[in-house]
Subunit: 140 residues, 4 copies
Amino acid sequence: MTEPTRSQIEVEVRYAETDQMGVVHHANYLVWFELARTRLCTRTGYHYADIEQLGFHLMVTGAEVGYRRGARYGDTVQIVCWIDRLNSRGLRFAYEARRGDDLLATGATEHVWVEAETGKIRRMPEELKEPFEELAGEGA
Amino acid sequence: MTEPTRSQIEVEVRYAETDQMGVVHHANYLVWFELARTRLCTRTGYHYADIEQLGFHLMVTGAEVGYRRGARYGDTVQIVCWIDRLNSRGLRFAYEARRGDDLLATGATEHVWVEAETGKIRRMPEELKEPFEELAGEGA
Amino acid sequence: MTEPTRSQIEVEVRYAETDQMGVVHHANYLVWFELARTRLCTRTGYHYADIEQLGFHLMVTGAEVGYRRGARYGDTVQIVCWIDRLNSRGLRFAYEARRGDDLLATGATEHVWVEAETGKIRRMPEELKEPFEELAGEGA
Amino acid sequence: MTEPTRSQIEVEVRYAETDQMGVVHHANYLVWFELARTRLCTRTGYHYADIEQLGFHLMVTGAEVGYRRGARYGDTVQIVCWIDRLNSRGLRFAYEARRGDDLLATGATEHVWVEAETGKIRRMPEELKEPFEELAGEGA
């Protein structure tokens, strides 16, 4: 069994992302997760923009976030992303947001492959199968 | 057993809320849910801004969303919100996003009471107990 | 000389729109202006979504905002929008953001008509000419 | 006469920043400009978060943006920022957004120094005078 590939990005907290509690508003974590997911997906050799060029969207069908500690303006946050479930119809990404050793949040998003033109759910495009399986590792 | 109070708001989709898939970006549902939660909370007689004046935040500790259908620019979306769990330490709100008869998304957020000054988790402020219990109904 | 039609919307400040200064982040005014512009445009008999169906975008080429007073969570803000210049190639909208008698911000955005398919600048679609001229009044 | 210090950041376009036109929504440029302004300000030896710790805000009183070409998901955008006017009461930052050799947008924001506690306009904090003058160069 091989481990899933983990990709990490660094995000510098934007002033606009804070709210009047003085911490990053909770909705922004989904935006950060997406940025980390984009980075992970480039490891397949396809930027997610290229995947959309193939005529497919990786549509979000579910999202969950657990918040532990707030991120603040001035902080740099690390987002780690990996695939924790993969099948022919869809996949699930998992995430961790950290500020150094502090775990700020964890999360997951579920996705299905959708044909852009019709909006219908499809199997994973053939050319993406191998690269995504490699990203996911054998445990997924 | 009494039912929880359900509050409904109408949201007109903003162009800025769409993404290049042509639908509302999934992170915006958390923002809409928050707007519906604000409206529900005013039923206690306290605007959420007043609750913050009391020195408390209702900090988000978890969020989840299930996406069924996309909302589009030009749509008006209804967000329904109610309390589906309440105890002295925190509470959970549930949500539905609808476009008329179409269910677009469901969700929930979990919260704890935090003292603004110290950031420590506290019991619910005494003066809010009765109005929140009334909102929650007897099943929560 | 007839006056331009003024359209007004009400916006309830969203928690996510505040920043750590405790007021609405300045970028959100452009989003509010756009919502007011959408409402004004519906007076032509076409929702802006319909205009895009005609194969045109009203692309933003410039924006300016003057900020006088901050809006706060709990506030309801009125945005007034009107056309203050119109010609065959483009138009300029002007805006005021008010909280009752308090003027919070003023602004303007400039736009050109762009053919969606080619991205090229075009003259105003023929069917929109009369309704937009009526909106703009004779001074524009 | 010395030139103002120019600071440059790189921004990877986020999916959430696009709109249904398929380009970055125009309000996001103000958020990017702010990120570049934050980076420039750190050259004074103070992070903008530290300046707020001194009890001051650099409140935005005006903003303007000129849009030339759209940024797309998959793009990396460079934002250059410098001070183009400085006096004891406030300052003006100028910006350019580029994608390599393509100029995407230009802009400026005007700011005054505000005492956080009272919200009153103040002169620039004494300790910041020299570092900001150095950033601005002699032409500002």
